[in-house]
């Protein structure tokens, strides 16, 4: 959905502003101004800015979303180990409090910036933009943005990512897609995580989870993975490699085009001693 080309106006809502429609009321002395802007207009503007920044550096940005504890950080650790340096990675971590996850990532020699959101239940494009000021994207192939663990709010905020990956861990139950349709509809890839627990949590039926996804008209692929045993990691790496290739091709084909990304400040690592981004 965008705010410029009129695609906000659909069969579903055009009756509201049509002559005689509910929203065309004009009481005397008052003026009804038709707007039809997305409510997240400012966030979406910042997200486009972030995306242009990623594109300028040929970086694939992946937004990882799930419930708290579904294994996002563990998946990233397993990914870093499995890639063994084949692709260069950086991570932005979103949590309400602590640097724990960023520290886990840094132990693997990968740069990680922690965003502490305070009480905010999601990352937004402005928070990610601020974090980018502390991160050098030169030479990075994939930037993972690990969103705040939450199956509700993160789905509503574009961060400038190229792909959304949503994890559903086996202990959560196979009906999560039916309960949180907005989140799972946003996914470009769904990963069933902690599949090593399937033998003990055998009431989770992967087929049923896929059935609920189909009810949401989700055509995105589903990958089963265990960060602990390494099962399925090769399918995940293949998906990542395919997306990196697509991103490189897009960057290559747009080289020589006029720059689309300009602003009055510079990105890059903050001076020594700079604090991590907090909000």
């Amino acid at each position: 959905m965008c705010d410029t080309c009129g695609c906000n106006l659909t069969h579903g809502n055009e009756h509201l502003i049509a002559p005689g429609g509910k929203l065309e009321i004009t009481a005397s002395g008052r003026e009804a101004v038709s707007v039809l802007h997305g409510l997240l207009h400012e966030n979406d503007h910042a997200a486009r800015h972030n995306r242009a920044h990623f594109d300028a550096h040929g970086v694939l940005a992946v937004n990882l979303m799930s419930s708290p504890g579904a294994g996002k950080t563990a998946l990233l650790e397993a990914t870093i180990e499995a890639l063994d340096g084949d692709l260069s990675i950086a991570v932005v971590e979103g949590d309400l409090e602590t640097e724990n996850d960023a520290e886990r990532i840094r132990r693997h020699g990968v740069p990680a910036i922690q965003i502490s959101t305070g009480s905010a239940c999601h990352l937004d494009a402005h928070m990610v933009h601020d974090a980018l000021h502390n991160l050098d994207l030169a030479g990075i192939d994939i930037l993972f943005i690990e969103n705040v663990g939450n199956l509700v709010c993160p789905a509503s905020f574009d961060l400038g990512q190229h792909a959304n990956v949503t994890l559903l861990s086996i202990p959560e139950g196979d009906d999560k897609p039916a309960k949180y349709p907005v989140m799972f509809r946003a996914a470009d890839l769904v990963m069933l995580s902690k599949i090593d627990l399937l033998p003990v949590l055998d009431d989770f039926d992967p087929g049923r989870a896929e059935h609920y996804l189909q009810n949401l008209a989700v055509t995105s692929p589903v990958i089963n993975v265990s960060s602990k045993s390494g099962a399925g990691i090769e399918h995940w790496l293949q998906w990542l490699n395919d997306r990196v290739e697509l991103q490189r091709a897009a960057t290559h084909s747009s080289s020589g085009a006029p720059p689309v990304h300009s602003h009055d400040h510079s990105h890059g690592p903050a001076p020594a001693g700079a604090r991590h981004v907090e909000k």
Binding site: E42, C153, P181, Y212, A217
Partner: protein, 124 residues
């Protein structure tokens, strides 16, 4: 819940519109929200007085219109109504549908009062 953050984003847009149109106050704000927008209308109503306090829209009515969930089926080329977690074609049952409406999160319109209060406080 992110409804307060959304209300604050909305107030920022509404204040810009009111300033551009030289309005003295905002009397009504209308949103179009689909069931698949991930936003609860009730929570928006709760957050709204907090976000609008002290702004040009303080006291303005907040109207939230729910847009219907409609899907288009590529197989039978028909549009049909659907449910929030069952977006299959209402006619042939195929699941590879496209959402036509139902995920909107729109600031649809703003009603402005353009009369200016006189120094005595009377409107003219």
């Amino acid at each position: 819940m992110h409804e307060l953050a959304l209300c604050q984003a909305m107030m920022s847009q509404v204040e810009t519109i009111a300033r551009t149109h030289r309005a003295s106050r905002v009397t009504s704000i209308t949103l179009g929200v689909g069931p698949l927008a991930g936003v609860e209308a009730q929570l928006l109503h709760h957050a709204y007085p907090i976000a609008s306090a002290g702004t040009i829209a303080e006291g303005a009515e907040l109207v939230i219109e729910e847009t219907p969930i409609r899907v288009h089926c590529g197989r039978c080329n028909e549009d049909s109504d659907a449910l929030v977690n069952r977006l299959v074609c209402g006619r042939c049952g195929d699941w590879r549908t496209e959402l036509v409406s139902g995920d909107e999160l729109l600031l649809v319109s703003v009603e402005l009062d353009k009369t200016c209060p006189s120094p005595t406080g009377e409107l003219h």
